[in-house]
Symmetry: C2
Subunit: 207 residues, 2 copies
């Protein structure tokens, strides 16, 4: 199981400082939607040095104009880009084709979509399917149970990621469960007193 660290709602300078420090420690470094919308891809590209070991994910949350946004996102240096499961099937088909042609990866963010829509878009074998509990949502969320149920419903889906309030205990449970390929951790690492130390702890418990 891989660890993706989501950097969000901080200054771009601090995000880049963190990204450089986390490079090689965690598997995927995410620059979150807030950084994209606050600073823009042009500025991010200018300021962000290439990561040497970790992969870069830009959380574009594309929902329309897929090819345009993915062009810009990959130009910025991303290895992985996100598209909303709530986008039209046409959007998803176009960006999947584009992503495959470039040898990159797309993550489909399943936030707030129902089983009917999930079934409709369950046809992109190399995509990562991201189970995502909205930060804004006030419903309870059990990551381990949710992953198990998702896996039972969609046994053919190869790559699953899970995001939403994952702490060390849940990370360890998900690693033991052995279904999810990626966990996405934000606040528990970024808001820790020592984010690098916190990231290393997460890497330890999932290995």
């Amino acid at each position: 199981m891989k660890l993706q660290v989501a950097i969000d709602r901080v200054s771009l300078d601090y995000a880049i400082e963190l990204a450089n420090k986390l490079d090689g420690i965690v598997d995927v470094i995410e620059l979150g939607t807030s950084l994209v919308k606050d600073y823009g891809l042009i500025t991010i590209k200018q300021k962000l040095p290439s990561l040497k070991k970790s992969q870069l994910l830009l959380d574009l949350k594309t929902i329309d104009e897929g090819v345009y946004e993915f062009d810009k996102g990959f130009e910025t240096g991303a290895d992985i880009l996100t598209v909303m499961g709530g986008a039209s099937v046409d959007t998803l088909e176009k960006v999947y084709k584009q992503t495959e042609e470039l040898g990159k990866t797309m993550l489909i963010d399943l936030m707030e979509i129902n089983d009917e829509k999930t079934s409709l878009i369950n046809k992109f074998p190399k995509a990562i399917y991201g189970i995502h509990h909205a930060n804004d949502s006030q419903n309870d969320f059990n990551a381990v149970d949710t992953v198990m149920e998702f896996h039972k419903n969609y046994v053919n889906i190869q790559k699953i990621s899970i995001a939403g309030g994952i702490d060390l205990t849940v990370a360890q449970q998900l690693a033991s469960q052995g279904i999810a390929d990626y966990i996405i951790v934000g606040g528990s690492i970024i808001k820790a007193d020592d984010p690098i130390k916190a990231a290393k702890k997460f890497m330890e418990v999932i290995r």
Copy 2:
């Protein structure tokens, strides 16, 4: 009926030049999602002078972290911000409250959401409900029929906007129909040889 002109997928300098020229000619000037994601709100705020007569809409397409994104969007100078209908009900409730407290307007983008979800979020009386045919979608789309059907299904919804391939003929039909409060026009104005002249023509046919 009001005209909203969507400026998208151009350089920010050109977008600002256009916005200044369109100020006072059209009702709402939209800086599209591509401008937000390419340039970022910080740069947009630095470069964009206040519009004197037209309203400014920033097409944030917020789907999570609603309060954070709306804070940033209103700080940038927007009168109207967009949130996806596909966002969680919690997100929509939070940004609606925030928007009302600031005396601003929120537009709920209904792209790709079904009747069940639309019914769930049919409870924000001052919001604009935006019928939106995805640019990426390859399905046919009849704006006039779609508005009529939407109005029949949701008679209580006060403010309706409609977007998706609206040309002069359709604009005139929508004005005669008298249901939609806003039409959103992009390419037919922005890609015209003379966008200002094109905008004026749209204003003529809808008045």
